[in-house]
Amino acid sequence: MSNPTVLFLQDVLQEPKLIDWEWIGENFWEDIVPAFQGHIFLSFVSVAVALVIALPVGIFSARYRKVYPPVTFVTGILYSIPSLALFAILISIPGVAIGPAPVIIALVAYSLLILIRNTVAGLDSVPPETIDAARGMGLTDRQILFRVELPLALPVIVAGIRIATVTIIGIATIGAYINGGGLGQLIFDGISRQFPTMIIAGAVLATALAIIADLLLLALERYLRPWARVRRT
């Protein structure tokens, strides 16, 4: 027991008490579960709203190519603005109060580039012969879009949703600084109270949520791309 390494490890594990299981047990339902739910809410709403915007813009950009460069330019600039700065700019706008609303606006802004880019790439990946065949079968433009192009583009679009969701789950933690709620609240409270357990709880749960979302959407992507599964084997 006099091994210095063991003593050092005991110090590290016990003295500053990195994980206080008692606190986790006591505050599980009061603090941790609501933060987790809030985080899922923020991320889900943001990706859903972003999709509603990105799908039509992506379809339009794929059709009218001249629109695409300016669209990627604007969304690209939005994407490169650091999140804390974007939150600060948003709450400086008169009428925007701190809370979940500016956080969701910023998270939507970050998703746009990825989602629009993948929508266009997905539509581009549809072979022209397939569209010709559909036209030859007498389908109208609208029918071709909804019955041929979008279903074939769907795996690539879902791949975009996957990247956007993982990104958003990470950035959403910073939203807690402007009272957006979510797991970032645990991290910020942990910093201000100098209480590592809260930081670790928030960090581990946010990472776990991102990994779970990543795996679920990856499974969906594979499911939607049966032809790739066949080709690979």
Binding site: P16, L18, G76, I77, S80, I81, P82, S83, L84, A85, L86, A88, I89, I91, S92, V166, T167, I169, G170, I171, T173, I174, Y177, I178, G184, I187, F188, G190, I191, Q194, P196, I199, I200, G202, A203, A206, T207, A210, I211, D214
Partner: protein, 217 residues
């Protein structure tokens, strides 16, 4: 409002905060490059290495940057140094994954042709693999640089300094001009980084590859 923002930029501590931000980002990026590139070179011919690089990249994407910075607090303490360690850890995955895939995706035919022309292993690496992989490697460095400038804003929460200090000062003192001045400075710095590294990426693309890319279009 504009005048008040400019007044913040005229404050004596503004250049210091800006310099801290740039120094923090640049140091983290350079250390990350110094770690990630040799590792990518070492693992370039092994399948296990590729799997490790991809997994580090995926985990790096899933761990929130705020989480890494906040975790540095109980482990390393408060201040510039612990922010630097956290930012370096965040900067490594994009560089590692791009360098690893970039080197791996150099076509076998090209390498065979080079070997046929009598080039040694070292020559193939320095004259064939590295130049061809350069654009992909630089794309990774660019992603990492923009991300590091953004994450350096969060260094303020663990006492690391930088432009995030202005945002926190403006937010907690309800000084909208300080808040906005900090936010705009960070946003402009990030966009300059993005554009600047984009130019660097093009500069490091070998002429032959550019011609091939144009033909491909």
């Amino acid at each position: 409002m504009l005048l008040e923002i400019l007044e913040v930029y005229a404050r004596p501590d503004f250049p210091e905060k800006l310099w801290q931000h740039v120094l923090l980002s640049l140091a983290a990026l350079l250390v990350a490059i110094a770690i990630a590139l040799p590792v990518a070179l070492l693992i370039r011919n092994t399948r296990l290495g590729a799997a490790i690089a991809i997994n580090i990249g995926n985990i790096g994407r899933a761990v929130p940057s705020l989480a890494i910075l906040a975790l540095a607090l109980p482990l390393l303490g408060i201040g510039f140094a612990s922010a630097l360690v956290a930012l370096t850890a965040l900067a490594i995955p994009p560089i590692l994954i791009n360098a690893s895939t970039g080197l791996r995706e150099v076509s076998k035919d090209v390498i065979d042709a080079a070997r046929g022309m009598g080039l040694s292993g070292g020559q193939i690496l320095s004259r064939i693999q590295l130049p061809i992989a350069a654009p992909v490697i630089f794309a990774g460095i660019r992603t990492s640089a923009v991300q590091t400038v953004a994450s350096a804003t969060l260094a303020t929460f663990i006492g690391g300094g930088g432009l995030g200090d202005l945002i926190v000062e403006g937010y907690s003192r309800r000084g909208p001009e300080i808040l906005l001045a900090g936010a705009l400075a960070v946003a402009i710095l990030a966009i300059i980084t993005e554009v600047g590294f984009g130019a660097l990426e093009r500069a490091f693309t070998p002429k032959g590859l550019k011609i091939a890319q144009k033909r491909g279009r």
